[in-house]
C-alpha cells in the first residue's frame, strides 16, 4: 500500500506541474501575440490571404449549417408556442435565439472544428518538418508570419461569419414559417428587427471577436508547440479543436452573465 501511494504522488504532482507549465506557456504565447501585433513589419498580404482562407472556404459549411439550424429550431419551437396559440411569435423567438446565442455559438463551434484543426495541423506539420526553423534562419519572424496573421484573421472573420450565419438561419426560419403560417417576408423581418436590440447585436459581435481570437490562438499555440513526428501533428489538430470548443462554451457562459447584468441595469 505504502509503495502504491509513493508511486502515485509524483505522478499527480507531475501532472499538476505540467498543467501549470502549460498555462504559463499559453499566457506567454498570448502576451507575445500582443507584443508582436503592433510591431513592424506588418504582414498585410498574409493576413488578407488567411482571411480569405478562413472566411470564404468556411462559407459552404456555415451556410448549410445556419440554414438547417433556422429550419429545425423553428420546427421544434412551433408545438410549444401553438399550445398557447402564440405561433405568431415565432419570428421574435427565433431572431432572439439566433442573434443572441445560436448564431455565434454554432459558427464558432464549426470554425473551431474546421479552421482550428487546420491551423493546428498546418503549423504543427511546419514545425516537425523544420519549416519554422527554416523561416527563422532566413531572418524572418515565424511567429509574426504564422501566428499573428492567423490570429488576426480568425478574430476579424468569425464576427463576419456570425452575421452571415444569423442571416442564413433567419432565411431558413422564414421558409419554414412561410410554409406553415403563410407569413410574408416583410412581416417576418419587421418582427425580427423589432425583437432584437442594439445590445443583442453588439454583444453578439463582441463575443464573436473573442471566439475568433480563441480559435486562432489555441490552433496556433497547439501547432507551434506540437511534439516531433506525425503523431504530434494529429494530436495538435485534435487538441486545438477540443480546447477551443471547451473555451468557447465557457466564454459563452461568461458573456451571458455580463449581458444579463447590463440588461438588468
Amino acid at each position: 500500500m505504502a509503495e502504491e501511494s509513493h508511486d502515485r504522488k509524483p505522478l499527480l504532482s507531475k501532472k499538476i506541474d505540467k498543467f501549470f507549465t502549460g498555462l504559463a506557456d499559453a499566457w506567454n504565447f498570448v502576451r507575445r501575440f500582443f507584443q508582436e501585433v503592433f510591431l513592424p513589419p506588418y504582414e498585410f498580404k498574409e493576413v488578407i490571404h488567411q482571411c480569405y482562407r478562413i472566411g470564404v472556404e468556411s462559407l459552404p459549411l456555415i451556410s448549410l449549417t445556419g440554414f438547417i439550424v433556422g429550419i429545425v429550431f423553428t420546427n421544434q419551437s412551433r408545438p410549444s408556442l401553438s399550445e398557447f396559440g402564440a405561433t405568431s411569435w415565432l419570428p421574435s423567438l427565433i431572431s432572439i435565439a439566433v442573434v443572441r446565442a445560436m448564431g455565434p455559438l454554432v459558427t464558432a463551434l464549426i470554425a473551431a472544428g474546421k479552421v482550428g484543426s487546420s491551423i493546428g495541423a498546418e503549423i504543427g506539420s511546419m514545425k516537425v518538418t523544420e519549416q519554422i526553423d527554416a523561416m527563422e534562419v532566413s531572418a524572418t519572424n515565424p511567429f509574426k508570419f504564422l501566428v499573428v496573421t492567423r490570429v488576426l484573421a480568425t478574430t476579424f472573420m468569425i464576427p463576419i461569419l456570425v452575421l452571415y450565419t444569423d442571416f442564413v438561419a433567419l432565411i431558413g426560419s422564414f421558409i419554414n414559417v412561410n410554409a406553415n403560417e403563410l407569413v410574408s417576408l416583410s412581416t417576418f423581418f419587421v418582427q425580427v428587427f423589432e425583437s432584437i436590440t442594439f445590445l443583442d447585436i453588439t454583444s453578439s459581435i463582441l463575443k464573436s471577436l473573442v471566439f475568433g481570437f480563441t480559435i486562432g490562438v489555441v490552433g496556433c499555440y497547439k501547432g507551434y508547440h506540437s511534439s516531433k513526428g506525425t503523431e504530434g501533428v494529429g494530436r495538435a489538430a485534435n487538441s486545438a479543436v477540443v480546447i477551443s470548443m471547451f473555451l468557447i462554451f465557457i466564454e459563452e457562459l461568461l458573456s451571458l452573465q455580463i449581458v444579463n447584468a447590463i440588461r438588468a441595469m
Binding site: 513589419p41 498546418e122 506539420s125 511546419m126 518538418t129 523544420e130 519549416q131 526553423d133 527554416a134 523561416m135 527563422e136 534562419v137 532566413s138 531572418a139 524572418t140
Partner: protein, 250 residues
C-alpha cells in the same frame, strides 16, 4: 594566416540528463569545406543549430564572423543569419508555396527596393545554377528528394551567404543523386566563395566535399584533419569502423 570565420571553444550542450556536446573546439577557415562526421544523435546538427541561434549553448563560446552568437540581440542575430545559409536535412521547403515563392520568401523580406524584374532574374539564375530551371512553378510535393535538396540549397543561396551549413545533404538519396549533391556543394563553394560545414555520416560525401574532417564521438571531436590523416592512422576503433562500414571493408 588564414582567416577564421567560425571559432568554437569549449562548447557544451545538454538536453535534460543527456550531455550531447562536452567541450567542443572547432575552427572553420574562409573558403574551406569542413565535414563533421559522427553517429546519429552525436550532436552534429545541434552544433550547427547553435551556430545560427536556433539553440543556445550551456557553456563555451560560438564566434561566427567575429560575433559571439549567444550575446547577440534578436536584431543582430537576424543580421548574422543573413550571412549564413542553412540547408536542412529534409530540405524544409514551405510546402504551401511554389518553388518560385520559396525562393522569393527570404529575398523580399530581407532585401528592400528590389524590382520584380530583379527578383525574377535572381531566382532564375539560382535555379539555373542548381540545374532546375523548369521547376520554378512546381510545388515541393511534386519534386523528388534530390530536387528538393537542390531547391533548398538555392533558397539559402538567394541571400548570398558567406557560410553554408549543410545538414545531412545526402541522407536518404540514391548514390547517383548523392554524387550530384556532392558536386553541387563543390560548385557552390567555387561560384559563391562560401565557407561550409557539411554534417554527414556518409564518408563518400565527406571524401568528395571536405578539405578537412572532424569526427564527433561522445560529445567531443576524436579526430581532425584531412581524410587521409583521419582514417589512415585512426586509433579510435569507432573512427575505424566508420571507414570500414562506408567502404565495405571487413
Amino acid at each position: 594566416m588564414r582567416e577564421k570565420v567560425v571559432e568554437i571553444r569549449g562548447l557544451e550542450k545538454s538536453f535534460g540528463d543527456l550531455d550531447v556536446l562536452k567541450g567542443v573546439d572547432l575552427d572553420l577557415y574562409r573558403g574551406e569545406n569542413l565535414v563533421v562526421l559522427g553517429k546519429s544523435g552525436s550532436g552534429k546538427s545541434v552544433l550547427i543549430k547553435i551556430m545560427v541561434g536556433l539553440l543556445k549553448q550551456d557553456a563555451g563560446t560560438m564566434n561566427v564572423l567575429g560575433q559571439e552568437v549567444s550575446t547577440l540581440s534578436p536584431k543582430e542575430l537576424n543580421k548574422l543569419r543573413l550571412k549564413i545559409g542553412f540547408s536542412f536535412q529534409n530540405s524544409a521547403l514551405y510546402d504551401s508555396m511554389t518553388v518560385r515563392e520559396n525562393l522569393e520568401f527570404p529575398l523580399v523580406r530581407n532585401v528592400k527596393n528590389l524590382t520584380r524584374g530583379e527578383i525574377n532574374k535572381r531566382i532564375e539564375e539560382l535555379l539555373d545554377s542548381v540545374g532546375l530551371p523548369q521547376s520554378i512553378n512546381q510545388m515541393p510535393s511534386e519534386l523528388s528528394g534530390g530536387q528538393k535538396k537542390r531547391i533548398g540549397v538555392a533558397r539559402t543561396l538567394i541571400l548570398k551567404p558567406e557560410i553554408m551549413l549543410y545538414d545531412e545533404p545526402t541522407a536518404g538519396l540514391d548514390p547517383i543523386t548523392c554524387m550530384d549533391i556532392n558536386n553541387l556543394i563543390l560548385e557552390v563553394r567555387e561560384r559563391y566563395k562560401t565557407s561550409s560545414i557539411v554534417i554527414t555520416h556518409d564518408l563518400a560525401c565527406a571524401k568528395v566535399t571536405g578539405d578537412r574532417m572532424a569526427v564527433l564521438l561522445d560529445g567531443q571531436f576524436k579526430a581532425m584533419g584531412t581524410f587521409e590523416e583521419v582514417f589512415s592512422h585512426a586509433e579510435d576503433q569507432r573512427v575505424k569502423s566508420f571507414y570500414d562500414y562506408n567502404f565495405i571493408e571487413s
